[in-house]
Every structure is written in structure tokens, then in C-alpha cells.
Symmetry: D2
């Protein structure tokens, strides 16, 4: 059994990790780390876990945790993981960081967009960006996994084949993304109250959202050249789900079949990426609670653009599910272990 | 492997059966029966099943199905199962009927409340009311399981210990129930449109809902005398979930501890019924996607009444999950097989 | 023009007062009182008021306000109004208090249920309970109006005719109420986050909610004897609306027509109380944004009970609308002035 | 008093017209036209109108209606208005058509995108596109008003100043729009059921939505050259509201102040278009129930694009409200009459 510890187990992503790991037959959760609920029964914070989790919340002491577990998940705001990790810890456990601390290779870019000093720049280089479909082999060898952001995962996987195969001009990419509210976390803020979110849609972080450089970096690797994009996230009155609608100019005339072949080339063997049938648009409903990303595209011959779409559960493939997928790779398990539940509908 | 057939696989309860049976390691679905979608790919009707279910929908021919499967689930409106079942079929397969056809022992009561003629009254007596927590042993021997209604399951389990132990006057019972919209089915009706359901709550079927006699019959068995109740369902702007708030007059003064002991007596060993801690009210959120029923109670010393509460996922414990639980009993499996997923939150 | 001041203008009830008073041709808002947003533009807090309200928020200085306005609305938590009001103020302005401070005549009951000391008990006796349909004439002469609570308004108006005319046994009354989330206010609490409220229903304050004694007091006046009830509120995933489903035992056999005549006797001339047609259940959708209360009833001959139902917008008739109705009475205006907008649907 | 008739009064847009005209002091509704509910009380179809509208639904006989009213609103699917209108009718009444029949000047474009034959092409030329902020003077003289589509209204007004002043390259315009479900109408379709819409977001009509040529035509007039765009609508789990997020490449470097001046130039005197303060993003919540369009923009210096945003209530400014605004112009009233209600929040 793999012994797991979670720092930030009482946030939404942490709670989803708990749900997934409880259903994972090779894992045992040994440490429910929290800052706000230390010494309280975990199931009193998340009543759904009543009689399923008997443990109390512990603190976020990564050193102590490293002595008791094989893998540590950090489901916390940016900055915390980098401030805690050290060589002693890394010699004992694998770290899967769900925050942004090790996603961006250029520390200056990180510090500029996140507005904080990076406390462990020495580990940025070795950390592996945990997008399993792209970096599978590197992940297996890593000590630190930078679990991708929710928007970047869905955005990148929707666009990747077109960029990689040079079908589109990467500097024309515009990503219009829509997310459920769980992405905003469980903090008590007026903006996230039911009466503020319900019956509403709004853009936020326009031309300045922190996931922009992360998406650009990954797209740049795929394109083989620096890529600048527009990325606009929106808040949607739903709990879970991210939908990406991305636009780009085609470099030349292509048929549906040609583009479909490109998507199939990259995703045919990927269990968690489903290229939908022609003219079927991804919907967040169809992936809820699962680790799937549904992608598809539509060519507009009038404007010579392609519209690339993707749908994903932000808490699963966009956070906890992808973290488990990374864990499976790190520990030599079948990548799908514990992640094959069908999406919940309705 | 148990081979299963589903009549009504494209309704919401049928689709939930598909989801649960896909995750059940001892079952294989051999027949996706539908009336509206014959010959269409099941995954084109429920896109969440894309690449998980490759089969097409077949018709609802119970005779033909009985030659290919071990168990038939009928997730259809009342009347259909009774009109199809016969001795030849029952000699080959087990029937788990999610409709009301075999729930009520008095055929006159059935015909009065449902307004249709019963087509197979000869099987009413032998059919077993599939409330596992109460009729476990009988279920194991049955040929026909009358899978309980959603409201009756949640109502009865919330009240049962108090009635059985004589704590309350059964003829003072008032059940005020609230359900998500999936209980209304997938039929295309104006009343169930998003814009009609959202931002609204209403009572319906006041003093006349068909689940009333079903609840009364089961409570009468528990009380050992005829019971008449008030039952009022409400439609709530959510997808899944039933909440029951039931009221009754206490026969004598009792303490919290005394009542708690009564609930524990009946549910301590029941995995799927969770008696919550003192003063914790059941919420539908905490059971979503799972087979749990959360129950609790509150004594009001001012009015000498007790308020009994229960929360449940109407599509799982209220329909498909309970059907799988019954199937497990029928086939000698651990009752929990395929049903141990933690509730999804948020 | 009536000059109005609002203490608590940045809560949901206060904001609804602003909306209604802006549409009231005889009123001018002179003071937008707030505690959290002093000196900020009101329209920066409630962006819907952009270009409609140019004023900044002021503090909650009731003394200063009394020099500039004719009527003060206090839309604040309990305790504040009682702590601010004094004879000097009452000599200058009318007070319409939307909190509970002056609703309950027995100060001991108030202090027990609210858990705070009453700071102005000398005004309890003279304050008038502002349920216009019942206390219209007294309201016109009052200095202090105790604007009724949301649940009490809807509960009382649904039940009142039956109690007043002695059709039901008042001590059998059970009120099961359901409210949208705006009733919980705009405070930043985890419990009111979108992801906690959405796709959920729960009871709260079971056998202990503070609106219980308020309802009991008013029902006692109507019954002419002390009344004890059960009152259970529930939180529904919607913004606005309260639905009341109340149960009571009939004292004798009555027909639909007899009960209808009783409801008509009390409400035929009441513009804001709509007795619906036979078998039409009240729904919160049909009153949203308006000052209407829709009521109806259903007799259950099996149990000899009557089910009484009411639906109302908690922010309008349950708070700000009723406050404006009271203001109209206080200032000799037509009671309907500024309140005749049709309900918004969908 | 203006006498008004409505064809399609029982759809969502028609019902909103009823709501607005009831609050309009210069109008009397004389004919509630319907196809599905002839002879039924209007208030039995829309219970919110109980005791406010006593009339029954009549049929959609435009000839008969023209004898009794001054203005006819057609809130019906495309094709119906064109099939009914004739010279005799136009000699008696003004027509405000909320369908697409007279919006597009090139009948071939109409017939291609809508897939039906145009039955009254002789009136296309004289019909005036009823976007009041742009065509105010022409509207006053018209016999037929082509009331703009919901998406085109919000899209065009968000972009118009930038195109008109030549700040952007019009052929780089990409419009990503999001709409509440009332835009899909009140037809009983599985796709619009609560359980299908809730907790979901999806694109639809990708690269083929019928509002595309309407937007392109209007943008072409503003640009003085033919414009081709990408337009992608999405369905959001809310009732009302459209949000537009539009992207385009700037022709040259501009400052915030320069662009703000351009927006102010066009909208400073427009009551219903609110240019928000810097960095405030439009949200559908802030305009709900009102005739406002909130617009704003953000310059992205990294990509040299501008993001233009707009929010609007699709049933008001996107349909019924704009129709009333047009009616006011047609009959010489203040354009704002009956339309000055503040947005409803929450």
C-alpha cells in the first residue's frame, strides 16, 4: 500500500483527493493536513465522509509527514509547497504539488505573475510538469511533480495536436474558458456566495490571469517557438467543470478528416482524452466526477479559423484526478488505477 | 459474471443503473433496452458513456432478453413490467422492477391510486418489497423484487425505528418531502424545463401523491396497525437528492439518548444508513452519488413532537443503487459490492 | 417628497429597499447607511445601481440621519435598532425596523430566543407589528413599526383565516418552510458559498428557530389563546422566495367551498394576498420580485387535516416591500404605491 | 393609450412583453395571441399574472388584430411574421417583429441561414433594424421594425465604437457569447430540461449560428466594408442574461483613455448603454430584469488585442425591452417610458 499525506485536505481539491484515494485500492491516506481544522474530525468538515473517514485533521508539517508517508500532495495556495520542501524531505517522499510553485520554468515569470518570491528555485528545473499525456516518461522518474493548473490542462489538451502538427498559427490563439465555482476554492468571500454566483456569468482576470504564462510555456514547447495568447476565464454558476473554447487561424486549408487524424494521432491511445464524434460539442456535464477530458474541433471555412473545444472536471482531471494519475505513474501502477469511474449524470 | 438486462435504460434511473453496473466487477450489461432510441448508440444518448459503452439500444422485449441475461431491471413507468412478466420469464431470470407494479399488496389500492388495471395480479403476493434493511432474508429468495419508490425509501427509513419501537403515535405522522428534478424523469415537459424549475420551489400532488399508500403500507407493517399519514412532496431546483422532514407526536417523554439508542438498534449494522451525530441535520449534498441514507432526529420538548429527517440520492438509494443492492442479495454477493463509492462533493 | 434614510443599505434587504424606493415616485433616499462600506460609492458595492445611484455610503449615525430624513429604515441584525433609537429621534422621524427588536411583546421571550439584552424595552409596547393586512389602522398611527420577519409573514398569512375562524386546532399546527439563500444575508460564510448551497437542501434551526415565538405570538392573537407550533425552516438552492407548507387538524368536516369563503373573507380586498384557484399550488416563481403572497389550501379527508400553503418573495413582502407598504400607510399614501410591479418570470 | 396586440404572448419573450407593457402607463394590451393556449386564461399559463391579467388567449389572426390595435408585436419563430403581414395590415398598424424575418437585407442570406423561403421580401427594404442607439431617427418613421436578435444586440453594442472609429481590424473579430436558457424558448425539449442544463456549459451552433450574418451585416455598415467574424454561442445554467466576450486586433497602439473616449463618444448620452468604470467587468447579474447593456473593454498590450465585453438581459434589451423602446420611438414617447426599472439583485 502506498501511504499518502495531503497538505490542504480541507480545500475542495484536497477533499476530491480524499474521495479519489479512498476509492484507490493501492493507497492509504495517513495524514489529513489542514490549517483551519486541526484536531477536528475530517468528517465533521466534510460530512459526506461520515463513517468513511474516522481520522482527525493534522497540521501541515511536511517534515513530520515525510517520515510517515510515501507521497505528499500539496493542495494549497501558491507559495506554501516551495516554502516547505527541502532535500531531506525529497529523499524520503515524492511530492505532487497541486499549486503553481513548480509549473513555470522561468522563476522571473513566476514571481512577476504571482507577485511573490519563490522560496525554492533550486527545485524548479528538476520538477516535472505533470501532464501525463505529454510527459509520461519524465514523470515516472521525478521527485517533484508540478501538477498542472485546471485551465492549462483543459486548454493545452484541446489545442495541443493542432500546435504540435503546425496546423495553426500559434500567435493567433485565443482561449475563452469557463469554469465552475469550485475552482475559486472554499474561502469565505462575498464574491463566491450563492447569491452572487447564481444566475450570473462574468469574465475575470481579463488579460492578466496567472494561468496565462503556464499555458504559453507549454504551447511554446509544442510549437517550438515562443507563443503569446489571449486567455480569458469566466465564472459560471455551476460547481464543477471547465469548458474551453479556443480559436486560431489555420495555416492552410484542411479538411475535417485531416484534422481528425491529427487529434487521433495524439489521443487514440490516451484513455482519459476522448476525441468526440464529428459535430458533437464537449459539455461539462458529460465528464463530471471523472478524469476524462472531452475534446473536439470545428473548422470555419468562411474565416479560415478552427474552433477547438475541451471539457473537463476541474477538480478531477484539473486537479486531484491528474494528481492521482501522476502518483500512479510515479509508483509504477497502471495509470488508470482508481480513476475509471464513469461520469455522473445528471 | 452476472448478465444483466435493463428495460428503460435511457431514462434517468436506467442511466444510473448503467453507471453503477459498469463499476460493478461481477456484472456485465447485455441489453440496453429503450423505447425511444432503438438502434441508436447508447453513448449518443448519454454522451458521458462515450468510449465506455459501445452497444446500441435494443427494444424492450422481455421474452428475448430473458434468454440472454440472469437479471432484468425494469426502469419504466408503472404498468409496463406487469404487462410483460410471465411464468416463462420468471423461470429463467430474476426481475427487479423499479416501477410501482409490485410494491402494493392490495391490488385495489394500486388500481385506485395509479388509475390503471394491474396486468399481473397473480405475482403481487410473491413479489418481495426490496427494502434491503428490512426484508433482507426474503429478498434473497425472491423471483420478483419490487424496488421501493424514492420517497418511500427515504421516508420509511427516517421513521421506521420510532414506529417499530412504539415511540410515536403513527397516525400523527406528517411527512414533508423535497426532491430534486431527476425524480420527474427525462420526459420533455414544459414543467421540467430549466426556466420553470430553477429559482423555484413548489408542492405537488398534495394529499394525493401515489407514494402515499406505499409509505402507509410499510409503516402499517412496522406499527402492527393501519396507519394513515400526510405526505407532501416538493420539487426543488437541484438534480439529485431527496430530503424528508417528518413530524410525529411522541407517546411519552423520551431523552435524546433513548431515541438515539433506538436508531442505533436498527441501523448500527446497516452500512448504507448513517445515523448522524447529535444536532447534525441530514443534507442531500452529503450523499450525492452514493447509496447512503443519512438520518437524524430532534425532539421538541415544547410540543412533545419529534422531527425525523432523512437525506438520500433519489437515483441511487432511491432507485438504481437499491436495485443493485437487491441484485447483490439475490445473487449471493456482498450487499455492498459496487456500491461503496464515497459521495461526491461539491 | 418623503425623505428616507436606510441603516444597513448594503445588505440584501437594504439593497432591495434601495431598488424599491428608487421606483417610488414619492420618495427620495437621502442616506445610504452602511458599516462596511463607508465612503465608498454605493454603486461600486451594488453595480446594478451604476448610473442610478450616485451617492456614497455614509455611516449608521441615527441621530444625524434623523435631522435629514422623514423615515428611517433599519435593515440590520437584531439589537442595533434598539440600541440606537431614543425619544429625540422618535420626535423627528418614523422608524421602520426590519430587525426583530420590536416584534415580540414579551421582552423575556425576545431575550431568551435571541440571546441578547434588549436595549430599549420602553418602546416595545408602543411599537406596532407591521403586518399591514392585519394591523392596518394601528400602523397609520405608529412611531415605530416592527416590520415582520420573512418566515412569519408567509406563515401567518397562509394560516391566519383558518385560525381566526376556528376551523383548525391551533396546537396541531406544523409549519414546514423553505427559503432561498438571500435570507441568510450577504455575510461571507462558508455555509453560504455557491458550492455549499447549490444542489442541496437542508433543514436548520430545527425546533429552535427564532421566528418560532414571533409566529406563535401572532397566531395566539388570532386564536384568542396561547398557541405552540412546530416550525422548521429549510435552505433551498435559489436566491429569492419562501414557500410555506403548513399542516393542521380540522376541528370538523368542511368543504372546499367553506374554506375558500373563509380565505376570501380575509383576503378578497387585499391586493397583495392572492388566493389562488382551486388545486393551484403556490410557487415562489410566480411572486419573484413582487410584493404578492400567494396562498392556497387543500383538505385531506383521509386524515382530516388541512394543508395550507403560501409563497412569497422573502426580500419584498418578507422584508423591503412590506417595509415600503408600511411607509405608505404611515405617510398617508395609497398602500400600493411603488409596489405594483408584476412578478418577474422566468 | 396605445393599444397593443401580441402574437406569441405565451412564449418567454412574449411574456416579458406582457410584463413590461403592464408597467407602461401609455399602453393597453388588447390581444394576447397564442397558438397553443387559445381560449385559456392567460394567467393560467403564466400564474405570475394572476389577478393582473384577466384576459384569455386569442389566436394569431393578424388581420383581425390590426382592426383593434395600434401596434402588433410578433414574438414568434422566424417565418410567421413574414407570412402574415400585408399592405392592408401595414396601413392600419405598426409592426414590431421580434423574429429574424426583416433583419437581414439580403434575402438570399436570410434564406440560406434560416433554411426557409421568405414570404414577404417586398418589405425587407423598408423595414428598419430596430437598434435604437444606432437607427433612432429611421425607427421613428418606420412601418415595420425588425427588432434585433439578442446576441446581435449585445455583440454589436459591445464592439460598435471600436469598429466605427477604426480602432480594430474588423476581420479579426471573434465573439464568444454566453446565454441563459430562456433564450432557447419555452418549447418542451429534452435539451432544455433542468437536469440537462443545470451544472453544464456547452457551445452550440459553432461556426453556423444564425445570428452570425446579422452581426456581420451591422458590423459591415459600421466598418464601411464587408466583415466576416467568428461567433460562438454557449448555453449557461441560468435563466436570463447574455454575456459577450469579443476579441480583435488593434490597428495601432492606443491607451485606455483613448478607447474610453471613443466609447463615451457613442454612449455618453445613451441611457441604456452603461460604459462601466475601468477594470469593472460586465456581469449579467447587474442588468437582470432591466433594459441596460453594460459594456467595457480591456487592452492587452502583450498581444495588441482588445477584449470588448457586454452584458444584457436577453429578454429585455435582447427582446421585449428593446421592442418597447422601439414602440416608444414609433409613437413619439420618451424612449425610456416604462423601461426605467432598476436591475433586480440578487
Amino acid at each position: 500500500m502506498i501511504k499518502a499525506g495531503i497538505i490542504g485536505a480541507t480545500g475542495y481539491a484536497g477533499a476530491e483527493l480524499v474521495r479519489l484515494l479512498l476509492g484507490h485500492k493501492e493507497v492509504e491516506i495517513k495524514w489529513y493536513g489542514s490549517r483551519s481544522y486541526v484536531d477536528q474530525a475530517y468528517a465533521s468538515v466534510y460530512q459526506n465522509m461520515f463513517q468513511l473517514v474516522d481520522e482527525k485533521c493534522l497540521d501541515d508539517n511536511m517534515e513530520a509527514m515525510a517520515d510517515q508517508v510515501d507521497v505528499i500532495f500539496t493542495a494549497t495556495p501558491q507559495g506554501l509547497c516551495a516554502s516547505l520542501v527541502n532535500e531531506n524531505i525529497l529523499n524520503k517522499v515524492k511530492i505532487i504539488d497541486l499549486s503553481a510553485d513548480f509549473r513555470i520554468k522561468d522563476v522571473n515569470v513566476y514571481e512577476k505573475w504571482y507577485g511573490i518570491e519563490h522560496k525554492a528555485p533550486q527545485y524548479i528545473e528538476e520538477a516535472v510538469y505533470g501532464l501525463c499525456e505529454v510527459n509520461r516518461e519524465k514523470i515516472k522518474q521525478a521527485r517533484i511533480i508540478a501538477n498542472p493548473g485546471c485551465y492549462p490542462t483543459c486548454s493545452f489538451l484541446s489545442i495541443y495536436p493542432c500546435v504540435k502538427e503546425g496546423l495553426i498559427d500559434p500567435n493567433t490563439i485565443i482561449i475563452d474558458a469557463k469554469s465552475g465555482t469550485s475552482g475559486a476554492g472554499r474561502g469565505a468571500k462575498v464574491d463566491n456566495l450563492f447569491c452572487e454566483v447564481n444566475e450570473n456569468i462574468k469574465a475575470y482576470g481579463v488579460a492578466g490571469h496567472r494561468h496565462t504564462p503556464e499555458i504559453e510555456e507549454q504551447l511554446s514547447y509544442a510549437a517550438g517557438e515562443p507563443v503569446l495568447i489571449n486567455f480569458t476565464p469566466h465564472l459560471v454558476p455551476m460547481q464543477r467543470g471547465i469548458l474551453v473554447t479556443a480559436y486560431a487561424s489555420l495555416k492552410k486549408d484542411v479538411t475535417y478528416e485531416e484534422v481528425k487524424a491529427v487529434y487521433d494521432k495524439y489521443y487514440d491511445k490516451e484513455y482519459f482524452v476522448r476525441v468526440l464524434n464529428k459535430d458533437v460539442c464537449p459539455q461539462t456535464r458529460w465528464v463530471e466526477g471523472s478524469n476524462f477530458v472531452d475534446v473536439n474541433f470545428k473548422i470555419d471555412p468562411r474565416t479560415k479559423r478552427i474552433i477547438m473545444m475541451g471539457a473537463m472536471d476541474n477538480l478531477v482531471k484539473g486537479a486531484a484526478g491528474q494528481a492521482v494519475q501522476n502518483m500512479n505513474l510515479l509508483f509504477g501502477l497502471d495509470e488508470k488505477t482508481g480513476l475509471q469511474m464513469a461520469p455522473l449524470f445528471p
